[in-house]
Symmetry: D2
Subunit: 308 residues, 4 copies
Amino acid sequence: MSLPDEFHEIAKRVNNWGRWGADDEIGTLNLITDEVVREAAATVRHGRRVPLALPLRQDGVQTGMIPGRVNPLHTMVQINQELFGPGTVACSDDAVTMGLQAATHWDALPHVSHSGRIYNGRPATTVTAHGGAQFAGIDKPRHIVSRGILLDVARALGRDRLDSGHAVTPEDLEAAEELAGATVRPGDVVLVRTGQVQLHLAGDNHAYAFPSPGLSVRTPEWFHARDAAAVANDTLTFEIFPPEIEDLWLPVHALDLVEMGMLQGQNWNLEELSTACGELGRHTFLLSAMPEPFTGGTGTPVAPVAIL
Amino acid sequence: MSLPDEFHEIAKRVNNWGRWGADDEIGTLNLITDEVVREAAATVRHGRRVPLALPLRQDGVQTGMIPGRVNPLHTMVQINQELFGPGTVACSDDAVTMGLQAATHWDALPHVSHSGRIYNGRPATTVTAHGGAQFAGIDKPRHIVSRGILLDVARALGRDRLDSGHAVTPEDLEAAEELAGATVRPGDVVLVRTGQVQLHLAGDNHAYAFPSPGLSVRTPEWFHARDAAAVANDTLTFEIFPPEIEDLWLPVHALDLVEMGMLQGQNWNLEELSTACGELGRHTFLLSAMPEPFTGGTGTPVAPVAIL
Amino acid sequence: MSLPDEFHEIAKRVNNWGRWGADDEIGTLNLITDEVVREAAATVRHGRRVPLALPLRQDGVQTGMIPGRVNPLHTMVQINQELFGPGTVACSDDAVTMGLQAATHWDALPHVSHSGRIYNGRPATTVTAHGGAQFAGIDKPRHIVSRGILLDVARALGRDRLDSGHAVTPEDLEAAEELAGATVRPGDVVLVRTGQVQLHLAGDNHAYAFPSPGLSVRTPEWFHARDAAAVANDTLTFEIFPPEIEDLWLPVHALDLVEMGMLQGQNWNLEELSTACGELGRHTFLLSAMPEPFTGGTGTPVAPVAIL
Amino acid sequence: MSLPDEFHEIAKRVNNWGRWGADDEIGTLNLITDEVVREAAATVRHGRRVPLALPLRQDGVQTGMIPGRVNPLHTMVQINQELFGPGTVACSDDAVTMGLQAATHWDALPHVSHSGRIYNGRPATTVTAHGGAQFAGIDKPRHIVSRGILLDVARALGRDRLDSGHAVTPEDLEAAEELAGATVRPGDVVLVRTGQVQLHLAGDNHAYAFPSPGLSVRTPEWFHARDAAAVANDTLTFEIFPPEIEDLWLPVHALDLVEMGMLQGQNWNLEELSTACGELGRHTFLLSAMPEPFTGGTGTPVAPVAIL
């Protein structure tokens, strides 16, 4: 099997290899300039902060559908331990084991490969057991702070939550821009709300995972045209799942991560943000979504915050 | 053994139990109001971002001195795996095991207890193996975004790095305020630079860990008087270690976390920030330092970013 | 709530506290004398070996029903890594995270407590986050090698597999002894087959876990009378689950582990052994079921082998 | 760089590829026949059992020299948790994270590869992040029970412990056979004692690890000639380390595991066994050393026991 011509044609149109040099490891994050950040900071008018991460716990979104992507196992290694003798100050310490893509996370660029290549044309073999991603790993973007814009597709379409088979199209994104009263600008981190995370919040992780609404294979070109810096949404699979084109699995991942070099975020909880944006009548804000700098990581948990 | 009278006297003076209600679980973070955040955002003038986290990797700062506090073990669970058949888009996934206090981190309020109590007078027994910290765990602060201020004590004292036996005093902090041309305000997150992390960066984790300069037992009153929201520095132990008063171990932890309810940050890399502040001639900035929301966590890795 | 009188009456009858001294940490394993082992070795007539452990993998028996008892997460940390340069001998290494009670395992004596006590009357507080079980942990039995006897209750009752509500009684055990043509002797490790593990082998972990046949609250007295050294079976819960007496959960655990000081084994696969015993016409054998010596462990994975 | 001719010449002489069929995944363990096991059981005369595993704990033999091979991190996930309500039977559960080769362990055959091949000529690429070793993993040997023979080289040479630069030669092994009053027979598991583990037991893990005495590159032919089923010793590196031939690292691993298909054991504590054999005047015994059946594992912790 190989990827269909249709895929390769889109790939050519969105390809950013070499755009920021042959050695670039952060892709569209280059679009977040100091000026973009200054303007992003200037959007803060209320001082209200909205966290976007799901709790990290055993009862997380993973169901075992994806092998090895385990929910956080949080354990105590010390509990009120008087390390310096009886009656002294006592310490509690904990440890965790978790999949880096298990919860609210960023995919690093080498999280997927196709045709043996990752972003910037580097060989997929640069990901190894010994050290993980040697090129463009999640330790390479030093910071992700920019203007955030909520494209509340569910609300724009008058829905609480999109149907499980709904592929979010460029037209949907433009309807959400209209609702937002703002358009995506170069360097923006775009948050696309489907409402799908409500299923997880209601306790049904299987329904949350699959089938799932998500971004259409037509969206990478749209994000490319607008020069978005990164895109995140409130689903497990990011893109419509199962896919729109039979047997073409994860085309959006391949286009965004490999061809464009654009980070994707998944399992972001955008419910409270949707409410806040509705109340304040604004959909742009300062967004801080710093990767935990795992050396060689192909993903990372993230605790994003929107500052309105 | 019990804690000396001297400790209990300071404890009374800095105690915040009940200040934000008997059920409050976030302590001095209450001081970060919307107004504080608005003013913090207004400090962003250059758009320059400085990350403050150390890399997360096996070769981290832990030496085994603290039982169970293990450096991150990063492993791959999928490498370019064609989950949907040969020739399809391939995925790489990873997992990690680590101590929550192993790297650049926040201590949650119940990270220490004394005399059987944690913050707000709750029993230390609210920390259990089953679920971790039931009260005031690291999942309770929903966001940590505020004005940051760098108190560059090393630079203020004309040193690259403080001596291993140097207890940072209120007088030192005031010298650093003078260098900063700014004073700590209510709701600030205060970053105290000793330069000690240079030893880790140079590869000597044992020298980094112990003995270590750090905050004096006299500093909690100073932070209390100024109503700081949180304090972080660039050492493993946060406070001077071994301690100033014989056999009184971790008094600053007990005063800050238990009595004041003020979060502490450790192993923050403040070297690049020091340089940036020097270059830009300013020491205040917007700081985002979001905890990863581990349910019941007594600490969390954090990837802070200063936005200048 | 407290445990009912009925429980305490049985407890008195099976109690072994002090029987091997106030400091004893291995309980009925004391019954495995050198002579018992010599006689056990003499049972080996065919040289046939039957392994009794389930595979250790993500797709194991745990369903999330028991918080924190996670199936093994096996990850590679090196894959054909030429650590000494290109063209040299290459190494592959792996790591695992797992619950010690997740798969085929032994419960250590302090795995349960009741009324604040563990085996030999020691306080339950001897189990701590810092170091685990200080008394009678799984590191204390230095070896478990003895005569094994298969009590094939399912077969003795003419069933492939016992009903989910079947409490295995002393009468059932005696029927199985009759089938075996042998009786339990002091120092024996007794393997009780219900057939329940077939549900797991067929892929239905939920049906396997609950409800489950298992040992009746009447069996501890029977094992006590015969001076068994340890008992294992092919269920997740060991004892009938839900329990025979309303609101009296895990009475068999409490009687076996706390009162008698007798180790329990769970999730043992006895299917092949049942076939082998049927074919060879014998139900006793040499059994080696060595605990992995986790310091302070309250349980351990085990790879038992019957040698016939 | 490629492996020297000298290596390839030995490789030809000890190669067992195809000897037990093209699909064989257990190599020399095929030599452990029912008859071998019957005779092994017949060696049990005293009933004395000697465990050979080191404790599993954070303070284990690993020093960080081998990336990712982490000492066991044992954590509690439940401590006396009354899962069914106050006053009910309480449970303690634990979890572990560890390298499979970190402590007393077996190397599986695909633990090393050379020239792109593992045992039986299969490609090294059969080891993947997704599932580990697809061929000849540690889940494939269903049991390891055989006659054990202690070749106490240190004692035979009149030493407490061999020098760090001592390569154990065939002549040394024969001296130890003479001391044992027995010779290695087909199907034996051979335990070679150097005394090196004393350094670990005395607390010096660095001295234990490197430099280390161990088996000479000349020994694979000797074990091949005698048709040993497996070999284990009391060192971290198994073979002399650094190696006898400059720049030829791990030749014994490559010959034993890849060419012969013979499992190796490392970090076995043979001190108590040496004493017992001396006291009883015999060096052969029944040995049970069951692998934990990690699916796809390239190694496994093992708790071996010698039954004399």
